[in-house]
């Protein structure tokens, strides 16, 4: 049986063979993970520490501005962008366990700074962005790690969220990480590249269409017979869970970091 996310306890092993780099990694957990999915931040912290890195969590952090910006509240997003850049400006590397937040930064931060006509702000944005990584990107592309020493003896299907797939182009980084997990069986998700229908405020502004899209996605998830569906965005997983649970399905949703946090010691 897959452990319930709300009672997850991650083993924090001290010894690891994967110390290729030792970084001081600042975690930007994302506001909705902080509030709704704390276990994802906890898991990401454990995985990074297990690999020998130091994790920092600047407590002043709040939101990257994505919700405001994507909904059209552009003026309201600007102070949030400035806030993020100020707080993380000096970080060696920033880890974000939310692909859509990283997409917000890469796709829009420069444009926002340009529109503000503030050269210092723009320079800060340009200097910071290359040091911001989505969680799986950081592990595979920056740290060169695929096997993080995880054991998770369950069947898992992976939903490539739109932002990770088409904006960050994370490619097969998440699959490489999953394939290296001991005991894990990966099942391909049919029609996996189709959006789950979340879309931020789209989910409530166009609730009917969003639910119809979700219906297709959840049918594909159930068709795999997997115990767990995973992704790089808890927002999509919240949507997928919402439909699955309403339909009485027992399939669990877990952020990739949560799967990677499990080691044999925990079972």
């Amino acid at each position: 049986m897959v452990p319930r996310p709300d009672v997850l306890v991650f083993p924090n092993a001290d010894v690891t063979p994967f110390r290729r780099y030792r970084l001081r990694i600042a975690l930007f957990v994302a506001c909705y993970n902080d509030t709704l999915f704390p276990q994802t931040g906890i898991a990401a912290t454990h995985v990074l520490e297990r690999l020998g890195h130091t994790v920092e969590f600047p407590l002043a952090q709040t939101c990257c501005g994505q919700m405001h910006y994507n909904t059209g509240y552009h003026c309201e997003a600007v102070p949030l962008v400035r806030r993020f850049v100020e707080i993380f400006g000096n970080a060696e590397a920033v880890c974000v366990p939310s692909a859509s937040c990283v997409a917000m930064m890469r796709e829009h931060y420069e444009m926002i700074a340009e529109a503000e006509n503030d050269q210092a702000f723009l320079a800060d944005v340009r200097s910071l962005l290359p040091r911001v990584f989505e969680f799986s990107e950081l592990l595979v592309n920056r740290l060169g790690v695929e096997d993080v020493g995880a054991t998770f003896p369950h069947t898992v299907t992976y939903h490539p969220s739109c932002h990770s797939l088409r904006m960050l182009h994370v490619g097969d980084a998440p699959m490489k990480l999953l394939r290296a997990v001991r005991g894990l069986t990966c099942i391909d998700l049919p029609n996996k590249e189709q959006c789950c229908g979340f879309g931020g405020t789209f989910a409530v502004k166009n609730a009917d269409v969003s639910a119809a899209m979700l219906g297709e996605k959840d049918a594909c998830v159930i068709q795999t017979g997997a115990e767990v569906v995973t992704a790089l965005d808890n927002s999509c997983l919240m949507q997928i869970y919402g439909g699955l649970h309403r339909a009485g399905s027992a399939v669990r949703t877990m952020h990739l970091a949560e799967i990677l946090a499990f080691t044999g010691a925990a079972q």
Partner: protein, 495 residues
Amino acid sequence: MSVRVGKTSAAAAFPKAAKSALANDQLRRNVRHATDVIRNKRALRVSEMPDWEQLRDTASAIKAHTLTHLDHYLLEFEHNCQAAGGKVHWARDADEANAIAIGLLQQYANEGLGREVIKVKTMTSDEIQMNVALEHAGFTPIETDLADMIVQMGNDEPSHIVVPALHKNRVEIRDIFRQKMHRDDLTENPEDLADAARRYLRNRFLNVKIGVSGANFLVAESGAVCVVESEGNGRMCVTLPEVLITLVGIEKVVPTFADLEVFLQLLPRSATGERMNPYNSLWTGVTPGDGPRAFHVILLDNGRSKLLHEEIERETLACVRCGACLNACPVYRETGGHAYGSIYSGPIGAILSPQLQSLEHSRSLPYASTLCGACYEVCPVKINIPEILIHLRGRVVREEQKTLGGAFSAENLGMQAAALAFGSTRRYEAAQRVARTGQGLFKHNGQLTGLPGMAGGWTQFRDLRPIPQRSFRDWWKARERSKPTGPAPTTGGAA
């Protein structure tokens, strides 16, 4: 000048229109099937092209260049087209374009060419509702593209840019044909349906004296006009009649004939998954003894020129109307085209309609997308549709905030409150506590249900886990406190 796109009556907002589309199971099955078929064909044909991305980049560059020098290329086209015996007319909006067309038809009717017109598929004619105007003036427009004919006979509206009757299946088409062609014996076999259409149309091709077409491209350097199509009806419409009138949006001009090399590789693969179109017609002016003896081009603005001054909006005009974004769109897939309340549907419709018209009629359209990016990925001219959608959302919000109702709307107040909370750590943490306490009212069987306001849209269709009692930052603070040496020296070090 008044810009109109499609029917003038105000369409329902997208969420409402989508709801009725979602209730139509047959429509949804038809749309899913058709878009799946075209999407897969496209993917196959694109995968054959090693230089696909270079072609996209080149097409995007040609369009960007042309649109920044549109005045020059349009005048060059006008000059060369008229030098070759064509006549160019300029129309600021739908009414002017229709008036020009009707004036010409009246003149030719007086010369004895009759009051019937054969038409080859043109979205621009639907944009200006030309058929309605022609009928009103006593002319009979006859659509000759199979799908457009189905739409016209069924008193329907096109639901797709390339395949306007995509929402109809064979049985539905058979019923329309049985009624309009008085063919009670007709079956739903594709061969029989095509045969019926062919017999019906052949007479008209041979007897009607005036043709109306759209155009895929205008070539500035020669004054040539290009139409690509799959059925051959277009070839007949532009060659058999004595008079040809071509209606075309001003954004369709390209500088040189060589530019077509790029677009004629991209367009058919993107639109119908074909390596090339079965019929590629190119003509320049008139030639005695070959084709129409009189040729008119109506260049239509209808709101396009006001998109030219902003770079991000200008990109919209690069569209070649291939419809690939519709076939790729997961929203269009569920609702079909009619929910967009405009003849331009899907992702391109969601950015084009609100920009051509005032936002008033279509302010819900920029929100009819999850910003999933599937449209941008397939667009042969690399229009960054998600970016333009977000840009237009910004305009909607700024305009709404200027009104009293908009400023005090639940959405705006919620967004302002959220912005305030995110602006300070203290307020943000307080908001987290309030949400945790407040949610108690809505907990049922371990899930949040019946949430108020906008969040009700969530719980209407989905469950939601309650907010955990301990946030990530609570966990982090507790862990720091429990460390033997007090707060670790690393925390906060990034600030």
